[in-house]
């Protein structure tokens, strides 16, 4: 893998692009060429968290293709203006380009039409174009399974949730966490705090402190650092990790719903190399291993662990849907009727709380 600074890359990238001309992905099958893949991370690669999970996907491509792939990875590209320039440069030298953050959406939508021969893949994107595919995970399946553990392990019947922003990708999993817990104990409630920041370890700590002081004894933090898991452990509360296994931060880490993007990375690389890549919308969950549960804490009783496994299997098999009715909203009004299932579109635009959630969205 070529590891290069953004500046150096921009300096040489343009010249290289001009020299190579337009080597499109469609031609790759015919020519015995090396596959060139560019990947842009939103934050630095650390040992855990969102970007780490994407780096595992990149590793999977390398493991699969070995010498036949040339990877260019740029990290810490957040600002949309920077991102657009970076994507443009990457597109001029690569066959396949990955953006890994919601914030890469607008830049990708602007760059992709100008490079019709390059394949673009965007994680947590909502817009897809002829040569811009999207991939995303069903986080709510993971939080539902974790919720089953939370429902059993909570003594106070109160669980807590800390999220970045009140957007569907976070509100939905919070709801599913509570629904999972209510499936074993109907009286459980879930208090929520939104930090209104993607990144503020100090406020994350205070949020967990607050939830624990109000009596919550299982805390799920859907944020990018391990602060939530660490603070919960210090205060003697159980915790649920997100994106990576965070058990090294607390011995009261129940489980984590982890994200494994490698199948998307490898599939996209393979289809681009074979010349039959098409822009698609992927939305995987427990069934295809995109969402996984990290090893359960030994403190969880064996029968609860077995129940979690059977719930996990039922969701993967499509027998159990976390959002199956009857679902009521916070005010007790029926939103999803008995036996019905919330549509995919409604799940992806979910900005309402189910009954038992404590917190405000509007």
């Amino acid at each position: 893998m070529i590891r290069t600074s953004r500046r150096k890359f921009l300096k040489y990238g343009g010249a290289a692009g001009a020299a190579l001309g337009l080597g499109g992905w469609a031609n790759l099958a015919r020519a015995d060429e090396i596959l060139r893949v560019g990947v842009v991370y939103v934050s630095p690669v650390s040992d855990i968290g969102w970007t780490k999970q994407h780096s595992l996907g990149v590793e999977a491509i390398r493991a699969e293709f070995g010498d036949r792939v040339e990877l260019t990875v740029l990290d810490n590209v957040y600002n949309p203006q920077d991102a657009e320039r970076v994507f443009r440069e990457l597109a001029s030298t690569n066959h396949l380009v990955f953006g890994t953050s919601f914030s890469h959406g607008t830049p990708l939508q602007r760059v992709a039409p100008r490079f019709p021969d390059v394949a673009f893949e965007h994680c947590s994107g909502i817009v897809h174009l002829d040569n811009l595919g999207t991939f995303e995970a069903k986080y709510y399946e993971g939080t539902y399974v974790a919720g089953v553990a939370a429902g059993h392990m909570s003594e106070s019947g109160r669980i807590g949730f800390v999220g970045g922003f009140p957007i569907p990708d976070i509100v939905g999993p919070a709801n599913a966490l509570l629904l999972g817990a209510q499936s074993v104990n109907p009286d459980v409630t879930c208090s929520t705090i939104f930090l209104n920041s993607w990144y503020d370890p100090g406020r994350e700590r205070e949020a967990v402190n607050t939830l624990v002081s109000q009596g919550c004894d299982v805390i799920c933090s859907m944020t990018d650092t391990a602060t939530g898991v660490q603070t919960s452990g210090e205060l003697g509360a159980w915790s649920i990790g997100y994106a990576s296994d965070m058990s090294q931060f607390s011995d009261r880490h129940l489980t984590a719903f982890t994200l494994d993007w490698s199948s998307y990375y490898v599939d996209a690389a393979r289809t681009v190399a074979d010349g039959n890549w098409v822009a698609e919308e992927h939305w995987g969950g427990l069934s295809d291993g995109v969402v996984k549960m990290s090893p359960y804490n030994e403190a969880i009783p064996a029968e609860v662990q077995a129940e979690m496994d059977s719930v996990k299997a039922a969701i993967a098999a499509g027998e159990l849907h976390p959002y199956r009715g009857e679902l009521k909203n916070q005010d007790g009004e029926v939103v999803v009727a008995e036996g019905e299932v919330l549509s995919d579109g409604d799940i992806r635009s979910m900005v309402w709380f189910v009954e038992g959630m404590i917190g405000s969205l509007s």
Binding site: I193, G202, R203, T210, S213, G359
Partner: protein, 306 residues
């Protein structure tokens, strides 16, 4: 009651990094120098203190290393702004950005590795008092050190001769120079003190408050510290009140959210900032109070002549 205790104790802890960083900046500004680089110095202090704990050094040494590295970072500003008399705003901003980059570079290998956190120091007897004990006497040593520094800085500035000289330099460096005071040297000392305090503030974040290293973990606290100095009208005790107000509002809005207050969380998140602005406006109405404490030579370079 336990909720109330949690709010008060949480406020005092949340305010601690702000108290250190802002108190240091207060002394710097009282000497007539404006160092906008607090954020950068905090980050450098945070990453070095974390490194020290990571390397197995004892906690007090780690915090000392945080202070020294913050002071070393402030020296960069000192050389630029005091020796070469560059624009203080530009030099400070440069330090803020530089500190962010350098700390990220140094911290690359530490990405989210847990370390043991600073142990709590329960004050004997006092910590056993019901209600008051858990509210005020069960903190880690740095919280007490922060409170002690508020008193110490107030005493130094207003009760000692050295403090009087420092304030004189902040008002009129020419006059101080005329009576033979080494203006530049004293300003250097103030800047170094400010850097060390910001370094401790940063160290508090990475080894006590959230004992892990993540890039840019101050998340804007250095800028809030800067605002707190103005908020306090350059008085240490008011600075403490300001830091508690800000910390308290932060915690109250989180409590409000978790209680299910039907107010948009975006609005609640803005409450600490709104409260700070409201108080600033009220203070600014009293011009006399401001003019009495504002260091008249703030951010103006001093050229010793003759």
């Amino acid at each position: 009651m336990s909720l109330f205790i949690a709010i008060v104790a949480g406020t005092i802890i949340a305010a601690t990094p702000l108290v250190f960083a802002a108190l240091g900046e207060l002394v710097v500004e009282k000497s007539g120098v404006l160092n906008l680089g607090i954020e950068g110095m905090m980050l450098i202090g945070a990453v070095f203190a974390f490194w020290a704990v990571f390397a197995g050094l004892p906690m007090p040494v780690a915090i000392l290393i945080g202070a020294l590295s913050g002071a070393a970072a402030s020296l960069i500003f000192g050389v630029l702004a005091l020796t070469f008399m560059t624009n203080q705003y530009a030099a400070g901003l440069a330090l803020a950005i530089f500190g962010g980059g350098v700390s990220a570079f140094i911290g690359r290998g530490f990405g989210s590795t847990p370390i043991p956190s600073l142990a709590r120091l329960d004050i004997p007897f006092l910590s056993d008092i019901p209600v008051l004990g858990p509210m005020f006497f069960r903190f880690d040593p740095l919280v007490y050190l922060g409170l002690f520094m508020v008193v110490a800085v107030g005493w130094f500035l207003y009760r000692t001769k050295a403090g009087l000289i420092l304030r004189t330099i902040g008002e009129s460096p020419q006059s101080a120079h005329a009576i033979g005071q080494p203006v530049i040297r004293i300003r250097y000392m103030a800047v170094l003190f400010g850097g060390a305090m910001a370094g401790i503030g940063g160290a508090y974040l990475s080894v006590a408050y959230t004992p892990l290293w993540v890039e840019n973990m101050t998340a804007g606290k250095g800028w809030i510290a800067l605002a707190l100095v103005v908020f306090s009208t350059w008085r240490p005790t008011r600075l403490l009140v300001g830091a508690w107000l800000f910390g308290g509002m932060t915690i109250l809005q989180l409590q409000g959210q978790a209680f299910g207050l039907r107010v948009p969380s975006e609005l609640l998140s803005a409450v600490p900032y709104l409260a700070t602005i409201v108080v600033l406006v009220i203070i600014s109405r009293n011009r006399q109070l401001l003019m009495l404490n504002f260091p008249a030579s703030l951010a103006k370079p001093f050229r010793p002549s003759g």
